[in-house]
Subunit: 198 residues, 2 copies
């Protein structure tokens, strides 16, 4: 049986697309945008806000403590979205093997002692810029680079805030792959290969 | 044809043993202890000193600049050993596909624009302690932990000194594997699988 697979990814590394192909090859559900839809149902917040806040936070100087979260008098919309998203991610995992992209899913499953195959997809700046320009045709190289730097920073800050750990620490992943040097198809192949032996 | 493979490893993660099996499976030379023997020939320093200094440095607060190294009036024995080791590593790579373990080999080959498959092997502390105790039978858990912490620090400092980069940054590796969660055989399989597609 295939395992639960979490995919953490650098913006522009193709992690979404790799995760989608892995799920298709293994015949298991793929959760990325679908999480947003379910969190909207769960929390009542608009999908746009969830997409905006679901991996970003501006709270750089304090940390979220999940153990006291339910006892807190005031929760920001961001924290409410995080909690709803956490519940949705745990529900996805509870329903069996699947691929879940981003949103601290590796940390959330670990904190509940749910064993998953945790994968990190990264690529050098040059490959990420080409990919972003290809995807959002109108962008110039300089804008693509700025967009990548901003997204990276937002995701790292979000991860730091909700997990109190640094994003991208190799110790958190069973497998880390450079999609720039290896290419998307090889990454898909390697993840499926490992999933079969896991 | 198999590629040149460099293996960076945490002490106690089984990187040496994994590298040896990969080389055997692919039918290519394996360089770890052999490097020490060749550096001894090259530099005239004793093998014991090379083993001791070949991945360690006490120079925590300055950096080695390879571009000015040959013009320097005074070189420490450590720097001389590094330079001899660098030459040996480049010679190994020049003779064709092989597996090279540690000693900044990933950085040394990159700096000469020699393309290699760069692999990082890591494992959590618990797995590393068991492995070290198994290997050096007499060690107690607390001594194993101290030994791991010391070796990690020495290798990181050495890498930092000679490359001016942080050891273990995922960006430097095509593939990173957790030998603790995946096991040695799966790591060997994954590296060989990637080597065939590289």
């Amino acid at each position: 049986m295939a395992p639960i697979i979490t995919i953490s990814r650098e913006f522009g590394s193709g992690g979404h697309s790799i995760g989608e192909k892995v799920a298709e090859k293994l015949g298991i559900p793929f959760y990325d945008g679908e999480i947003v839809r379910r969190v909207a149902e769960e929390s009542g917040y608009a999908k746009d806000l969830i997409e905006e806040q679901g991996e970003h936070t501006s709270m750089g100087n304090r940390w979220f403590d999940i153990s006291t979260a339910s006892a807190m008098y005031f929760q920001s919309p961001q924290d409410e979205i995080f909690l709803a998203q956490r519940k949705v991610i745990l529900d996805c995992a509870a329903s069996g093997p699947c691929v879940i992209v981003g949103r601290c899913s590796d940390y959330i499953l670990k904190s509940e002692e749910i064993r998953a195959l945790n994968v990190l997809i990264h690529a050098d700046m040059e490959h990420r810029i080409s990919r972003i320009i290809e995807r959002y045709g109108e962008l110039k190289e300089i804008s693509a680079k700025k967009r990548i730097a901003k997204k990276d920073k937002q995701r790292r800050t979000y991860y730091r805030y909700y997990t109190d750990q640094h994003w991208g620490n190799y110790e958190n992943y069973d497998l880390a792959l450079d999609s720039g040097t290896l290419g998307e198809d090889t990454c898909v192949h390697m993840i499926c290969e490992l999933a079969e032996r896991f």
